[in-house]
Amino acid sequence: MLVARGIFQLAARRGVHTTRILASTAPAAADASSGDNLILNFSLPAASIYRNKPVASVVIPGLAGEYGVTKNHSPVIAELKAGVVQIVHETGQAPEKFFVSGGFALTHANSVTDIAVVEAAKLEDIDAEEVPKIYAEAMKDYNAAAEGSKEKVEAQIEVEVAKSLAGALGVALT
């Protein structure tokens, strides 16, 4: 749960508003004839990004590593780390990328995948130039905090999230 709060602070600092995502996504009606698609539910406490949306595939940032889900994938319960969720709506298209905080992803036997995270932002909405600054501040807090204290752990989370953001956006960190 600390991971969730880390990205929370990060997102709050950056002023990335989830509401901006909503403008572009309308909840799709459940598609019975989903063909080769899996049904995706992607939601945050503040908003539902996709509800019963048929998509071709999703790449999910699990704690143990990224993994991809397509229709008829075996059931999985995965704990997530801060990273990128990639959604391919139709095979062949470029993936839509969201940077997410920690959370959970459940893939059920009926090809329904639920992704529940605390915060998410479209990768293109994130200001890449701010990331090195966030990283530098987080490193400062990390080095200044006492060993084993709550501040140290929180700063460590911020550092890891910043690194993950940098990786996702292709920004170099010093």
């Binding site: 749960m1 969730a4 709060r5 929370f8 539910n41 939601s43 945050l44 406490p45 503040a46 908003a47 539902s48 509800r51 699990g62 704690l63 143990a64 590593g65 993994y67 075996s74 059931p75 999985v76 319960i77 995965a78 704990e79 959370g103 959970f104 459940l106 059920h108 036997a109 329904v112 639920d114 992704i115 529940a116 605390v118």
Partner: protein
């Protein structure tokens, strides 16, 4: 407030003095006028509170609509929510130790949202206790403290109040941490579900801590990372946070709709009272005028004769 006092009781309170004096002699115009003025003042307040509650309800309803889908990921692996009245009828199905998380409001003058929950709790908790089942109460909201603090004091583990609205996920996550520390075989979140601007229903959502699950749970699922117990514990905590978050959103919207209706009723009652007082006032005024006329005339005729 007239709404909570009940129409007849309020009428007696405000007209009380006046009706007694009518029996003795004439009710004083000034007193009736004073009561009319104070009732009108209260009416202004209740009307304003109604408008404020209506606008707050719109905001809470929007937040609720946006946040309700988030609960779906939990509903996938937990029993569906049940009505509190049905839950209270099947207490024998409950496990040995239970934690009841009750969501109430911080502010009052909101109709029956809190009292309806408290009423059921005051019957249910001692009943469970009599059946030798462990019950603990985790209360959210100051009115929960007011209505259940004394009668159910021995069962209360924690009270959380004045957290500030609107509720957000951070608060829910913080409360979830406290909830998961309390050992229980089942956690039941009791809240008022928002149905519409005029309807809400008391609902219970039950979650089971992984430690209390018998057999091999989720055997058909692969776990990433494969430390199944840790993943299940974290997932449970997030499920509790999610459930508390959505039930607090429902409770907030229900609170505003209930307050809106209560204040509407109070305003209506107030207007009726003013009408009655106005009739009384005119009667008193007319009888005063008649008395004065009679005095003048009898005085004049005494002079003549």
């Amino acid at each position: 407030m007239s709404a909570s006092l009940g129409y007849q009781a309020a009428r007696r309170l405000i007209l009380g003095g006046a009706t007694r004096m009518v029996a003795r002699g004439m009710a004083s115009e000034k007193e009736i006028a004073a009561r009319m003025k104070s009732t009108a003042g209260i009416n202004k307040i209740t009307k304003t509170m109604k408008m404020v509650a209506a606008s707050k309800m719109r905001g809470d309803e929007d937040r609720l609509k946006a946040g309700r889908p988030f609960q779906k990921w939990v509903d996938g692996f937990t029993p569906p929510p049940v009505l509190l009245e049905d839950f209270a009828k099947s207490l024998d199905k409950l496990p040995q130790s239970n934690l009841l998380v009750v969501i109430t409001t911080d502010r009052g003058l909101c109709g029956g949202v809190n009292s309806s929950l408290a009423r059921v709790m005051k019957h249910m908790v001692p009943a469970l206790d009599k059946e030798k089942k462990d019950v603990q109460l985790f209360i959210v909201g100051d009115k929960g403290r007011a209505t259940m603090g004394r009668p159910l004091g021995e069962f209360i583990t924690q009270i959380n109040s004045d957290s500030g609205t609107p509720y957000n996920f951070s608060l829910a996550a913080a409360l979830a941490q406290d909830v998961t520390q309390i050992k229980a075989d089942a956690v039941h979140v009791v809240f008022n579900r928002f149905r519409s601007a005029i309807a809400y229903e008391a609902t219970v959502k039950t979650l089971y801590p992984p430690a209390a699950l018998t057999g091999e749970p989720y055997v058909e699922y692969e776990f990433e990372p494969d430390t199944k117990t840790e993943v299940l514990d974290d997932m449970y905590e997030m499920a509790i946070a999610t459930t508390m978050f959505t039930s607090m959103l429902e409770s907030a919207a229900a609170e505003q709709s209930s307050r809106m209706n209560a204040m509407e009723n109070a305003s209506k009652n107030g207007e009726d009272l003013i009408k009655e007082l106005s009739i009384q006032y005119n009667r008193a005024r007319q009888s005063r005028i008649t008395t004065e006329l009679v005095e003048i005339i009898s005085g004049a005729s005494a002079l003549e004769s």
